[in-house]
Amino acid sequence: MHLLEVRNLTVSFDTSVGLFHAVKGIDLHVDAREVLAIVGESGSGKSVAMLSVMGLLPATATVTADSMEFDGRDLLTMSAAQRRKIIGRDVAMIFQEPMTSLNPCFTVGFQIEEVLRFHLGMGRTERRARAVELLRQVGIPEPEQRLHSFPHQMSGGQNQRVMIAMAIACSPKLLIADEPTTALDVTIQKQILDLLVHLQAEHGMGLIMITHNIGVVAETADRVVVQYKGRRMEEAGVLELFTAPKSPYTRALLAALPENATGDRLPTIAGFNPEDLVAQ
C-alpha cells in the first residue's frame, strides 16, 4: 500500500468563460521514505493537484478522482472536520513565499505553538520546549530568543526554516513542498534543500517536491513525475529520467537547459499537444 495514492485526478475551475480543466486525469503515488518530484512549467497543474489533496482549493474548483487515499483512508468521502485533523498533522505543506505564508502579526513562536496546541493538545510549557527543539532542528541559532521574533525581523531563508519547523511539528507522514526555494538565493536554496532531504531521511517521511527547477529535481528526487498542461507526460526514476527520457516533452525540456546547450542557440519547446503525449 502506498502512503498517498491518487488515481485519475481531475480538477476543473468554474470560470466566467466556462470550465477550465487544470488537471486532467493524473495518477500518482508516493511511499513512505520516498522523495517524489513533480516537475512542470506554470500551468502544468502541479500545484493544483497537490492543493486538491490538501483540500485547500477554493469553492469554484471541482475535484473528481477514482480514488484518493492517504495512509489507507479515503480522502474523498471524508468529512471536512475529519480532514482538518489529518491536514497539518499527518500531511503538511510548505509554500513558495515564506514572507507571505507566515502571519506578520504574530511571533514565530506563537505560530509554531498554535500547530502543537491545535493538533496535539500540548500544554504551555511542553509546547514552548517543543518549539525550541523544532527551531533547533531546522538550524535556527538561539532558538529561545528567536521564538519572540516576528517574521519581518528574520530573513527569507530563516522564515522558510520556520515554515519547515511548523510543517514537521507534528511529525507528519507526508510533507509537500511547493517550490520551497524559488524565492531564495542559491546558497540559501542549497541549505534548505539539504535540510528538507535530511529531515525526510531522519523522520522517514514521504516528501513531494513540486518544482519547475530541473536542478532541484536532480538534487533531491528518487522518482519524478513530469506534468504539462494538466497531463502527466512521464513518470520515471530520477536517473532514468535524465539518462533515457521517454517522453518527447521531457527530452525537449532537458535540451532547453542552458547547461546542455551544444550550439550557439538553444532548442526551444514548441508545438506540443499534451493529448498526443500522455504517458501510457
Partner: protein, 277 residues
C-alpha cells in the same frame, strides 16, 4: 577601439536612518568597481540579494549617480550628478527589467509602449515612429496586429519580448538586462535567450546581464563579475571564472548551484544508498 562601457573605481553609498537626535549610518552598496566592456560583448554580473548588483544597474542606466569614481560611455565621461541626463545619453543605454508583469503599464497599448521612447528622446515625426514600432514588433518575434493590444493580452514571454523591443527601439549601444529570464519558464527562457543572441549579432549590442542563475550566465556571458557585499570578488573571462574560480565566495556559489548532470545524480544516489545501509 574604445570600450562601450568603462568604470573606474565606481562606488555608491546610501545614507540610511539618521534622525534629529542621531546620525544615520552609511551603507556602501557598491565599492570600487572597475571594468570595461567592448562592443558586442556580454558582461554577466552575478550575486545574491544585497550584493549591490541592482545598485550597479541603476548607475549604469543613469537612474542613480555614483558617489565617487568615473564612468565612461563610448569614451565620454558620464556624471549625471553634475550634468543631468541628456537625450543623447538616454539613447545610449536602455534597460530590461526582471518582471514583465510589472514593467509594462497595463493601460498603455503595445504600440504606445514602443513609441514612447521615440517621442521622448527623438524628434521623429509620428508616422516614422509608428513605422519603427511596427518593425520592432516583428523583429522581436511578435506580429504587427499586436500593435493595438494591451499588456494583459500577452503571456510572460511575449511581454518580455515587448520590454526588449522598447529597450532597443532607440538603437542603444548598451543594454542592461536585470534578471530578464528569471521570471520565465524554462522553455520561454530558451526563446528569450535566443532572441537576445540574435539581436546582439544583428545590432552589435553590448549587454550587461545581471543574473543569479549560473547556468544561464555560463551560457550567455563573455565576461563574468561576481559581486559579494558590494565588492567585485571575481572578474574575468567566463572560462577563467568557471574553470578556475579564485575567490572562496565564487567557489561557494558554484558548489551551491544544483547540478543536473548524470554523474552528480549517480553520486547522490550512491551516497543515499550508503547512508541507508
Amino acid at each position: 577601439m574604445t570600450a562601450v562601457l568603462e568604470a573606474r573605481n565606481i562606488s555608491r553609498d546610501y545614507h540610511v536612518g539618521g534622525t534629529l537626535f542621531g546620525a544615520g549610518r552609511v551603507v556602501h552598496a557598491v565599492k570600487n568597481l572597475s571594468f570595461s566592456l567592448d562592443r558586442g560583448r556580454t558582461l554577466a554580473i552575478v550575486g545574491e540579494s544585497g550584493s549591490g548588483k541592482s545598485t550597479l544597474a541603476r548607475i549604469l542606466t543613469l537612474i542613480d549617480r555614483q558617489t565617487s569614481g568615473e564612468l565612461f560611455m563610448d569614451g565620454a565621461a558620464v556624471d549625471i550628478g553634475r550634468t543631468g541626463v541628456t537625450r543623447d545619453m538616454r539613447r545610449k543605454v536602455q534597460i530590461v527589467f526582471q518582471n514583465p508583469y510589472g514593467s509594462l503599464n497595463p493601460r498603455q497599448k503595445i504600440g504606445d509602449v514602443l513609441m514612447e521612447p521615440l517621442l521622448l528622446n527623438t524628434d521623429m515625426p509620428v508616422a516614422e515612429r509608428r513605422e519603427r514600432a511596427l518593425q520592432m514588433l516583428v523583429k522581436v518575434g511578435l506580429l504587427p496586429e499586436h500593435f493595438n493590444r494591451y499588456p494583459h493580452m500577452f503571456s510572460g514571454g511575449q511581454r518580455q519580448r515587448i520590454a526588449i523591443a522598447r529597450a532597443i527601439i532607440l538603437n542603444p549601444s548598451l543594454l542592461v538586462l536585470d534578471e530578464p529570464v528569471s521570471a520565465l519558464d524554462l522553455s520561454v527562457q530558451a526563446q528569450i535567450l535566443n532572441l537576445l543572441a540574435d539581436l546582439q549579432d544583428e545590432f552589435g549590442l553590448t549587454y550587461v546581464f545581471i543574473s543569479h542563475d549560473l547556468s544561464v550566465v555560463r551560457y550567455i556571458a563573455d565576461e563574468v563579475m561576481v559581486m559579494y557585499l558590494g565588492e567585485a570578488v571575481e572578474y574575468g573571462s567566463r572560462d577563467r571564472v568557471f574553470e578556475a574560480p579564485q575567490h572562496a565566495y565564487t567557489r561557494t556559489l558554484f558548489a551551491a548551484t544544483p547540478r543536473a548532470d548524470v554523474e552528480s545524480i549517480r553520486a547522490r544516489l550512491a551516497r543515499k544508498a550508503a547512508a541507508a545501509a
